[in-house]
């Protein structure tokens, strides 16, 4: 099937394509609810400021022992799930390359951007890094290299080179994430099925190249921006893969989880189960479950704040990834504000920028991203000068950056709820005709039907968003407090309350800005 078979004329409404007073925007949260949520955040901050509680690693509830055992005994369960995601992935690529150019009628764009990307972020809270276990990029690349469904690959399947020291960090993932956002919002990949398919193929090639050259799964650990986003957010997920009995791991000398066994791969991201203290690099691949001779690995249901507040170790590159995640998440919201387009057009007219206005967009993106970075850096400088002069500035910066995770995550979830609950209606129609054969652009009636009938009652969406943002800011304040205490050695130094106040002002400002963004009308993506 070729595209020329279909009676298609594309009419794209978003981005720089259609500049008209006729766009459709989702309504924002009501003013009253927004103000109430902001006041509740303020009240919560007072409670946390006055709190005397000290965070501890705590003990989570072990869950899913039977499932872990089943996955260890029958790796085919995971293989079947991977085959399923790969099959859907191939269908998405085929639909993008050969299907209709109408984004709202093509499976590539609707499944990738309206359903998968929005649902993925929400799912991270409940499933941690579960997606990585069935990731089609990794599955395809691994199968092609090893010619095996799940067993350990032969020595011929990869050059197994060590990743150069200068690349052993998450900077590559951060730059890739910035690039992907630029492609998504600036170039408009989300509204082009063809570009979506090309992007998917590029990711497979990158994964394959990395797996072929470097040892284990360097792409998953250092380069994959989706994986690192999941990793950072799963830091505040209540679900984590952990030892059932820490003592068993402490006594273990053979470390099968790290080295692997004859048939099972070693941990693809170089983790030792007995020493794991953060979710960031865990890809939930279940290799540790399969290789552990004591069947001592399962999931843990825990206090979602503990890892970011207590156990995770701060690193400079990871702190910048967290900051990047926050800025890019907020930037998504900014670009969907109705005036954004006229701002960029105004800038373009002033600069003499023409065509897709990519220079103007890039400047707008750089400015939008710089503001939170500068404000956070300023806060860090104030705190460092005020109370932590004896400490390394980078350590203070990295330690307190953990508190940004819940704020970014909460806004991301709240923003995605709008996409998912307001734009996913009618997905089954697209799934039934994934290539969009003989389809026409959305009619005004369809657009209004979608506008009027979200998957959840409108008020329920607003309340959910408010609860999510309040919880995020509350968790952020608590994490800030614990991390500040850890920097002062658990001692309430004289200026501790000053440090708390700086944190409260900054985090409340971020929370209020998130609420303000949610209160604005948001342009419908497709």
């Amino acid at each position: 099937m070729s595209m020329s078979n279909t009676p298609v004329v594309n009419f794209t409404w978003n981005g720089f394509i259609c500049h008209s007073p006729g766009f459709v925007a989702h309504p924002g949260m009501p003013l009253g609810l927004g103000i109430t949520a902001a006041l509740l955040m303020l009240a919560l901050s007072f409670i946390i400021l006055r709190s005397k509680a000290v965070g501890s690693p705590g003990v989570g509830l072990v869950i899913g022992r039977h499932l872990a055992k089943a996955l260890a005994q029958w790796p085919w369960i995971q293989v079947v799930l991977r085959v399923l995601t790969v099959a859907i992935f191939i269908l998405v690529i085929a639909a993008g390359l050969f299907g209709t150019a109408l984004p709202e009628r093509n499976l590539a764009t609707t499944l990738t951007w309206t359903l998968w990307w929005t649902l993925l972020i929400i799912a991270v809270f409940f499933t941690g890094s579960g997606w990585c276990a069935v990731c089609p990029w990794d599955a395809l690349a691994t199968w092609l290299l090893r010619w095996r469904w799940w067993r350990r690959g032969s020595d011929l399947s990869s050059l197994n080179l060590r990743v150069p020291v200068w690349l052993r960090n998450v900077w590559p993932a951060l730059f890739m994430f910035i690039g992907l956002t630029w492609l998504e919002l600036g170039v408009g990949v989300t509204t082009s099925p063809y570009a979506t398919a090309v992007l998917a193929l590029v990711m497979v090639v990158l994964t394959l190249a990395s797996h072929a050259v470097f040892e284990r799964k360097a792409f998953c650990r250092y380069f994959c921006s989706v994986g690192r986003t999941i990793g950072v957010y799963s830091t505040v997920s209540p679900l984590a893969m952990r030892p059932i009995d820490a003592e068993v791991c402490a006594r273990c000398k053979t470390l099968e989880c790290y080295h692997g066994i004859v048939e099972v791969e070693p941990c693809p991201t170089h983790l030792v189960m007995g020493r794991i203290n953060q979710n960031l690099y865990c890809t939930s691949c279940t290799a540790c479950m399969q290789s552990c001779p004591y069947t001592n690995v399962a999931w843990q249901w825990r206090d979602a704040r503990v890892e970011a507040a207590v156990t995770a170790r701060p690193h400079w590159d990871e702190a910048w990834f967290i900051l990047g995640l926050l800025t890019l998440t907020l930037f998504h919201g900014i670009t969907m504000l109705p005036p954004w387009e006229s701002w960029i057009r105004g800038l373009g007219a002033w600069m003499g920028d023409k065509g897709q206005l990519l220079w103007s967009f890039s400047i707008g993106m750089a400015v939008s991203m710089s503001v939170p970075v500068l404000l956070f850096s300023l806060c860090m400088l104030v705190i460092w000068r005020m109370m932590l002069r004896g400490h390394d500035f980078r350590r203070v910066f990295a330690t307190l950056s953990f508190s940004l995770i819940p704020v970014a995550f909460a806004y991301h979830i709240a923003h995605n709820l709008t996409h998912l609950l307001r734009e996913a209606r009618g997905f089954m129609t697209v799934a039934a005709n994934p290539f969009g054969v003989n389809t026409l652009p959305f009619t005004e009636t369809e657009r209004h039907q979608r506008y009027l009938h979200p998957l959840l009652a409108q008020d329920a969406i607003f309340y959910l968003q408010a609860v999510v943002v309040i919880s995020g800011v509350g968790a952020a304040l608590w994490i800030w407090r614990q991390r500040l205490l850890s920097l002062t050695g658990g001692v309430m130094v004289p200026r501790f309350q000053g440090g708390m106040l700086v944190g409260a002002v900054f985090l409340l400002s971020l929370g209020s800005f998130s609420l303000w963004l949610l209160m604005q009308p948001m342009i419908m993506r497709m």
């Binding site: 099937m1 070729s2 595209m3 020329s4 078979n5 009676p7 298609v8 004329v9 594309n10 009419f11 794209t12 394509i17 259609c18 500049h19 008209s20 007073p21 006729g22 191939i90 085929a94 390359l97 050969f98 150019a101 199968w143 092609l144 290299l145 010619w147 095996r148 469904w149 020595d155 011929l156 399947s157 990869s158 050059l159 170039v187 063809y194 090309v198 193929l201 497979v204 090639v205 394959l208 190249a209 072929a212 050259v213 023409k354 065509g355 897709q356 990519l358 026409l440 652009p441 005004e444």
Partner: protein, 196 residues
């Protein structure tokens, strides 16, 4: 693994095959239709934008390089059905990353209720045609994509598959050589020890 390889070959073959396109409407090839035909052309979009209902029709349905074509634009007020009577500017740009600035196709006034803009594209590709007009002080800009000639996704798929194949072969050959070298070194070491 043989199933995986069969699946891989099937996907490869299916993506490399470019099916025959036959555009028949009521027994006649669609690409021979013109605006004078009694059969409606297939390239048409109707939309409401601001206070106007706009219809854009492109002829022929599937334009080819170096073949003359035309875009017709009809704009009527939603509330009264009155025709928009002014000037419409048509521009075109490549529908690709880092596209050049749009080129002016022409500025048209109304002719029998229609704004007609002719075009001839010399190269195959995807283009965005923009129609701009100003009504009651408010600017209107409508973009729609136009594909000239057939798309060539096979090139992309072929390129990706070739690239992936190349990576796999290179890795395999390099690893085989490395292992042979290591085996040879291992073989060689006891001999040299004996000489010593």
């Amino acid at each position: 693994m043989s199933r995986l390889s069969s699946l891989f070959v099937t996907v490869l073959l299916s993506t490399l095959c470019n099916p025959v396109s036959a555009h028949h409407v009521l027994g006649r090839p669609a690409y021979s239709l013109s605006e004078d035909s009694n059969t409606p052309p297939s390239m048409q979009v109707e939309t409401q934008i601001g206070k106007y209902s706009v219809t854009i029709v492109a002829f022929p349905a599937f334009p080819k390089p170096n073949e003359p074509g035309r875009v017709n634009l009809y704009a009527t007020r939603i509330d009264s059905g009155a025709l928009f009577n002014g000037q419409v500017t048509f521009r075109v740009r490549d529908d690709r990353l880092f596209a050049d600035a749009p080129e002016l196709l022409g500025m048209q006034t109304i002719d029998d209720g229609v704004y007609r803009q002719g075009f001839v594209f010399s190269q195959r590709g995807d283009y965005i045609v923009s129609a701009e007009f100003t009504a009651e002080g408010e600017p209107y800009l409508i973009d729609f994509p136009l594909r000239i000639g057939d798309p060539a996704p096979v090139t992309l798929i072929g390129g990706v598959i070739t690239l992936m194949g190349l990576i796999l072969v290179l890795v395999n050959v390099t690893q085989r050589r490395r292992m042979q070298r290591m085996r040879a070194q291992r073989h060689h070491t006891p001999d040299s020890d004996e000489h010593e």
